[in-house]
Point group: none
Chain length 215, copies 4
DNA sequence: GATGAATGAGCCTTCATTCAT
DNA sequence: GATGAATGAAGGCTCATTCAT
């Protein structure tokens, strides 16, 4: 607070505008889906002109790639932060990692909608795969490591890889359900239910670490 | 001019052609995704002309609705048949119901791709929701009933609705993984792994009914 | 006139439509020039829709390439026909070849305008160069051969290549002048003057073959 | 803060900048042609910003008009200087006037390219015609006067106007060839050949004034 | 003077739909 | 039934021009 900011105003403004457009795109994506999204929609949602989107992102395709990159990066930072905040114990870390997926503070209905929209479009879009491949692998690796630790400690018979795939698949499916619940499918799965289900699953897989509770 | 066929030729030909076009649409959907699909693509894949698609389905939207309807109906019949073939016992019926999702005889890579494509587009498309709502509810109901039976018999503490949601979400997530594995993401989840995971999950939820096995 | 045309109607119609669009493009090119031409202009001039241009030519660029190709081919056939009609003698053939450039029956103001428009755009447009290279070389070769024949017969001191370049450059320059005269520059050069000048030039270069006349 | 410059800095800077932008435009025109030229290209070539072009020229159209005006004026001064330097005799003056067109010191490949680009765009651009009309007429008049003088002296039968048009058209055509040769069409006409051809043409038209030489 | 972000009109192109054959 | 030429609305992108800094 004591000196002139070293960051040039121009540069800051540039990034601010880019983020503003990314946010608007997420909003539109959540509302209209991938196929129906037009850059005019995004411009309207941002209160800006069509031209400025191309000016900042070069093309609609690159805008969407930037949006996915942002979502993937935000997601990565979110589960990593949640895991770090959980302390050193493997059980707490795994639980935190998985339950971060359903943190209502971060995963709004719009962002979930945007994720689903991309999910459907991943087919034959190598670009999108490339963006997600790294973060996806990182997360699987983190889950796998924690499962290994628990299995080593608890002497469970399940293999680490199978436990990891079970938990990750369960989270993916719950996510889909939560997204659907948020977007006009009341009665699918709420975030609270998802949390309970994850806890139950952990208790079933690793009973010595996660004491069963009445549900 | 006399026709001995019990089914009118016109009608038969009509349905054959419609199915031919639905199949081609599924193929294109699996390859190019929802957003990039054009009527010309479908016509080319079917070896027919653009006009004939409109002639049979009136519009692109209705063609896609018909495709989703077909997929949903085929899916429904598939799990119902699997369940029926499993015999009268609830444990066998539940296992058969869930594992039908990963029957390679029915769920080809292309069909999985088509399903994912629709999934992403469900946002803001009430038509698609309407098509899936009935079959979805029917399946949830079936799963729920079987969970209730097992819980009643085994005296498990989990609630039927939570068990149902766990299993359904797990299947959804595994499906996504299998689809990704089929479409250029080797190393996600194979159909065989999915089956093992489902068995393990059943054993974890209902240990008295599904004896644990070394995995 | 006595039998059903063996040419399929479809094919004929296709080519007829293409030529119709090429003609309209030449018209617009002559009126508005290259830079200002839009495919909407061409569609309007042809009384057709924008879509059909893309349908038949795939893109504006390819339409223009097709137009240049047509002009180049038409031009080639024109001077070749004129040369052939002139008989076997080299002097007559050379005269006919050169004067064919100013035949008002073929080189309308619009076509001249279209040629000039392309000429200016040839810079950095390899495609256009490629289209013209063959016909250009063919014509230079024809002129060169005739110059060689005359020089051999008449014992002139000029080299064939220099004679050819003189005559070809003179024709190019006259063309430019005739085109300018047609398009709002009255007082440049008329086709009749161009013919006289060519004759005078031939008489000056090859006096034994072309008797000088009072001009 | 004290300025010793006799010319105001503002004014000087203004003209310097204008000329800098005109030069850059010529460069781009020679490389990309008229239709593909954008203000951003010119700005990039000049190492300046888009805004400054509009600031100095008000619009793209006026920039291009200024460029053409500059080229026309430079050209005029060039042939007038060459003619003046040739001395008082009509034959020397005519020869100098015509051969100034191919002076490599002035007519670089880029400038030739720029000229051709404008030439093609003259259709339906009254502004461009207006700019060139005066200088064009002036030059034709100069050539005509010299032809008249030679014809009067030498008693040639050709009319002055025809001689003028022959020589001017020949120069135009040679120019086109030289420009093409410079821009990726090797083997058209070099500046040296053009000079020889002009000399030969003068010898053919006015043999008493220009002694024939072995070529 | 100078910059470059921002605008918006206009262009090329795509593609669902129509319709004459 | 079937074809594919033709239409035209809509979308992405370009680029001359403006203007706050």
């Amino acid at each position: 607070m004591t000196s002139a900011a070293p960051v040039p105003v121009r540069k800051a403004s540039r990034d601010v505008r880019r983020q503003q457009l990314i946010d608007s795109t997420i909003r539109v994506l959540g509302q209209k889906g991938y196929a129906a999204l037009t850059i005019a929609d995004v411009a309207r949602a941002a209160g800006l002109s069509v031209g400025i989107i191309i000016f900042h992102f070069e093309s609609k395709d690159r805008l969407l790639a930037a949006v996915l990159q942002f979502l993937a990066e935000e997601y990565r930072q979110h589960w990593q932060a949640a895991m770090a905040a959980a302390g050193p114990g493997a059980p707490e870390r795994l639980s935190a990692l998985l339950r971060a997926d359903f943190d209502p503070a971060v995963f709004t209905a719009e962002k979930l909608g945007a994720w689903i929209a991309f999910w459907g479009e991943t087919q034959g879009r190598p670009t999108y795969d490339q963006i997600c491949a790294g973060p996806d692998a990182e997360r699987q690796q983190a889950t796998l490591k924690l499962c290994e630790a628990l299995i080593a400690e608890g002497g469970y018979v399940i293999t680490p890889i199978l436990a990891m795939r079970t938990l990750e698949s369960l989270c993916d499916g719950l996510w889909l359900g939560v997204a659907a619940d948020g977007a006009g499918h009341p009665g699918r799965v709420t975030a609270a239910e998802a949390n309970t289900i994850v806890k139950t699953a952990l208790a079933a897989l690793f009973p010595k670490h996660y004491p069963a509770r009445q549900v």
